[in-house]
Symmetry: D2
Subunit: 252 residues, 4 copies
């Protein structure tokens, strides 16, 4: 792919209500994430937010998005089901999806996983350390053996997800918990990456390693468009077969 077209989706509510968050992310977390992506070669980034028409995810936007990143928290329920279904369809058709932090409870992630995606949590200004468990994986490229975050919200196991196809990061928390923090999936032709860090009251998305992981994940999840997969009734490949076309199909 010559250029990867990313749409950075943000709920964009905390930033407008909570001065602590607004101070860290004056233009929204999505703006910080998009700006970081724009500094990468071969990536363009647009943004979309909940309160825009169609949540900023019109058919045209989705059709021209190679990878969508998703951050939501307090307004998951306000995301309209028909938009969720369109996003799911695009993922199954090959669009990448990078789900961030509290996006674990988004409709789109739960729909694609089939589970509750529930977990333990605690806000206590804890240190988080994300260990790289697959150092050869492209999403870990350019990192050291771990990422240190001085303060983050804690997420703890059991995390109710299907077991990841590849587990890239594991988090250690000061308060005694662990978490599968970087999880790869394929659904349909689309690649999905869940990445844990990013509570709104910490400057996590300004951290260069976190920006590195998101950019790496975008590159990993981006795929060139491919022809639609053929499903449904099909003639036999082997000609000798004495098959019969079903009656109802003949009538069509």
């Amino acid at each position: 792919m010559d250029t990867i077209r990313v749409t950075v989706w943000g709920e964009y509510r905390h930033e407008k209500k909570n001065p602590v968050v607004a101070n860290i992310y004056p233009h929204g977390m999505h703006a910080t994430i998009a700006d970081a992506l724009r500094r990468e070669n071969g990536i363009t980034a647009a943004t979309a937010t909940l309160d825009e028409p169609e949540h900023g995810l019109s058919d045209a936007v989705l059709a021209n998005t190679d990878v969508l990143t998703w951050w939501g928290h307090i307004a998951h329920d306000e995301v309209r089901d028909e938009i969720v279904h369109k996003v799911q369809k695009r993922v199954l058709d090959g669009m990448g999806l990078v789900v961030l932090h509290s996006g674990h409870f988004s409709k789109i992630f739960k729909t694609l996983m089939g589970t509750t995606c529930d977990l333990k949590w605690r806000e206590a200004d804890e240190r988080e350390r994300l260990w790289v468990v697959e150092p050869g994986h492209p999403i870990a490229a350019g990192l050291g053996e771990c990422i240190e975050l001085p303060q983050e919200e804690m997420y703890g196991e059991r995390f109710d997800i299907p077991q990841p196809e590849t587990l890239v990061f594991l988090s250690w928390f000061q308060g005694g918990e662990v978490f599968r923090s970087g999880c790869c999936y394929t659904r349909g032709k689309g690649r999905i990456f869940y990445f844990r860090p990013g509570h709104e009251t910490y400057p996590t998305y300004h951290h260069p390693d976190i920006q590195r992981v998101i950019a790496n994940a975008v590159r990993w999840a981006a795929q060139p468009a491919t022809p639609p997969v053929q499903f449904g009734w099909t003639k036999p490949r082997e000609e000798s077969l004495p098959y019969t076309v079903p009656e109802w199909l003949k009538a069509k």
Copy 2:
């Protein structure tokens, strides 16, 4: 577990409309499947069908079901969403689920997989041969190296499912296609097995090897009840941590 309590769910429509099907399964496919399970040690089997109240799946029935088997085809849309959600919840809580043949398009399977579960198909009286690819797996216990079915409907790849955690069977079809025919998943605490064969116009569920696989799958999917997993806010395990209980939680 002393006894595994199975509920065999059948759509039970083809059998009432199509004399070919009625001739093979006079009391319904579900009755044939349940009868075979009842011949197993340590398994009890009840049945439930679409046209019963709550599709035969009341809260009490679900609460007393260790493993649910599911066959549906022409009336997937008639299965009510609230029943589907209850079944999903029970699976995530540990109930086993064995999805048979055209059940690939059932609401419950699609909900748990997160994908379209679409595939290629053809009705042409073809020979199917299911090869055992994991001979050490308990679902393959007691089988030879393959199962031969003289006539079946063809299902062909691409089968749009998440990649199985374990692939037990692969099908060969006379007309030239292949299919991942025996697929294991875990969702929440529940185990799910998809098993391909079983088109209504063939006596597939009378075949001893097919009955063996379904009984094996029931044993594999059955699990003793375990305490609910704890999710949500949690105190730190390590006592030295300077955490603060969130304001809104204090108020509760």
Copy 3:
């Protein structure tokens, strides 16, 4: 299976040299592990140690072992290659294998994994907490949400193993590291479980939860004997094929 026959293999060197270890395990770690298994219904346990003839693993012993557990540390190199090959062959043929703690560097584990199985480590009397990440898995049956060990050796990621088929436990360490502590594999027809805890200077194998996990792992890994898999030259299943028997095969 009516009865699962376990052979508990112990290197049995630390116990004879180090009074700290001898005090905790006067008859060897293998004796403590075997005693705990003998208290389980349907399990019998024998022991075998490095300094016995054939390391206690004669053909007869291996043929009558359903599950082998393995603890070694300072004398991995003294395990003879021909015994390793016999154990590998038995695992591929269906014998279960439970590899404990420093057994990660045993010849048999490295041979079956194909990787270095290297890791980080530290002896610092640290607290370890093993979190259950798959609460529905039979190896986690009967446990709470985590196992607390007041003092253990630390093992940290990167752990150089093939990614587990199922990851059951994740360890948190006081000093800041995490580790994939309970890892399931299938190799051939055999099931393998790697379980991290058990440094010789701590009473870990006296801990009831650790004993529970080992017993659960033994039940999970045990499988009834099955006929050998057929490999090599094979006639076509489909009779119409104009195949030719290879010349060299005709001559046999």
Copy 4:
């Protein structure tokens, strides 16, 4: 990576002994494979063969190889163990490996898999059809829904390998068997792809789709060099820990 440096390894014996093979591959199968790779942008390809010194795989060659492809058949035993160990070490350190056809029985593949890698086979001029089961995978890029090979050797299940991390292709054979034909693995930091077709008496490696898959696999397996992973003794990350440096380590 600017350029991917491939070494195409060939046993190069059949081509010198069997006129049928020599006619199809006058300069060896490795030459045909390398020529096809050289037509790709951003790939350079050298060759190496069994009868060269060090089998053409000196330390310098391995150090400058990003991806190694491997075809061997009648002389697996002649590959020297020390070369196998060097190749294994390079794979674990990040070199890609593409194992072709009868390479399933090579020392390097068996060493990395830990299993026998045995299978069923038959030479009967059969039609093979490789179905794409993961149409979104980069190794399937540019292909239709299947690859048709008019004549090939049959390989049939059970194929005694660890279950693939991703299964990209499934083969159908005219004589009635199926096979997992395109299998992805990670070992250490290295990526491994096994690809089934390529019996020496058929022009398989001249087929454009087969060449496409090998080039795709090379791109998928190629990874930029990364710093070595740190293993062994490590200080605690959390400073408060009352750890003690082991005595024997102090002495160093």
